[in-house]
Subunit: 245 residues, 2 copies
DNA sequence: CGACGTGTTGATCTCTCTCAATTAGAGTGG
DNA sequence: CCACTCTAATTGAGAGAGATCAACACGTCG
């Protein structure tokens, strides 16, 4: 299969990327080394790896994670098409987290110093990257709020809603027929700081209550209102407007 | 009291800022609106606030946090001198988190669009900001690992080590006489996803075991090795080198 | 067909939370 | 100078959410 040229990148249709002009596309194209495919469950970046390149996720799912030496694993966030991978580690630094694919995936590979070239040759792209990085941090912030302060039901409701939104935004039908959902219950547990068993029991409880359904690797939202209420999310994910006393 | 000019900024002595040349300093100086002081416990940015400016923490401590509508609060990370505040929200966007000071503090205030100007006029500074943003994310990553997968003792050991390191790096004596430690136990609890009571009991346990001591707002490390072992941190905060199967 | 990964469920166990009460220090007003 | 109030730290007791242990079901695959 032939590789994409950046001006034909399927991601260009996404709102996030619409701003890129001809020059920016050529710049990115010139920095792109190649495309690379990974099978589901493959490791792109090992924890502690020192020479990891820069990736962009073109299609598929992946996740970032950290582990303790006895094997306990925490998934930091899930990666969908359009996400950057590897901005965190400075040149020459060890990767502070690993990255593993959830599905067969395609990545664009860039040299480590592309990040600097991008800033140098296009301040606008550099600004976008800062913003994307800050945005990814805010995803981790959301998860930290969940793991720190929500109970199991609330955490799962929150995860389902946020992942559903992100996945639906990438789908032509906007999620009307459910969205692809390649996580196992172990991934959900590792993403929410729960045990596998308790994750299973809580998922089943919500499912039996008619809030959602997972079937054949697809997620269906059956009672978004109830899920949103459980998650204590409001409207478009904006924080609650409480009196600021 | 007169305001600092950027070329006299006390933070310039820090390794992080050494790279800035004359031009960069002038640029930053031109974007700086003013200095602003806040008393301990004051709110710089409210959750949901739409017009928050950009700050740099010149001296003092602060923290970022999110709350649920019933009041449960999660502290996302602690802010020390040199940290940026407010890169997360895009222009016009609502702040996804609040910011409150822990001590009397001084901030440099910048206009919202300074971020873009900085990128436009100095790609090198833009690159630095991307990197700083990514670095802040990695701090949140660390906390998420703690909250998701470490027990109370391990979480507290981890927090003490990481905060001690950051605070000591800002002190002339490198922390030999302990470091200023303005957190109440409630802050520690909110930062680690624990209850106040359990935080207290766990702190006392570690203190009685001789691992650390908190006295008069100063933190003393008494058995770093034991704390590091508890936290499952290695050497310089690098991830454990385990056989990669 | 057996091995393996994933999902499911029941039965304990325990870490952490919640509730309650006490102490100590700092600040305030009379 | 002394009640009074408030915040922060402390400790005990009981309750509960979630962890751990154990078994089993089901589909895939070599």
């Amino acid at each position: 299969m032939t590789e994409h040229r950046c001006n034909q990148c399927p991601l260009r249709a996404l709102p996030l990327f619409l701003a890129n002009g001809k020059q920016e596309l050529q710049l990115v194209q010139s920095l792109k080394m190649r495309e690379q495919r990974f099978a589901a469950g493959e490791t792109l970046i090992f924890e502690g790896q020192t020479d990891a390149p820069l990736y962009t996720l073109l299609s598929g799912w992946a996740f970032r994670f950290k582990t303790l030496s006895d094997g306990r694993r925490q998934i930091l966030n899930f990666l969908l098409a359009g996400d950057f991978i590897g901005v965190q580690q400075k040149m020459g630094d060890a990767a502070a987290h690993g990255v593993i694919t959830l599905t067969d995936s395609v990545f664009c590979v860039f040299q480590r110093d592309s990040l600097w070239e991008l800033h140098r040759q296009s301040p606008a792209m550099g600004f976008n990257i800062t913003w994307l990085t800050a945005h990814e941090e805010s995803l981790v912030d959301d998860t930290l709020l969940s793991v720190g302060r929500r109970n199991a039901e609330e955490r799962i409701a929150t995860l389902l809603i946020l992942l559903y939104k992100r996945a639906a935004a990438l789908q032509a039908d906007g999620g009307a027929s459910g969205v692809a959902f390649p996580l196992t219950q172990q991934h959900i547990a590792d993403g929410l700081g729960l045990s596998l068993v308790h994750t299973n029991k809580t998922l089943r409880k919500l499912e039996r209550r008619g809030l959602h359904r997972v079937e054949d690797g697809r997620l269906f939202m059956r009672d978004v209102k109830a899920l949103v209420r459980l998650a204590d999310l409001y409207g478009d994910g904006k924080p609650p407007q409480r009196p600021l006393i």
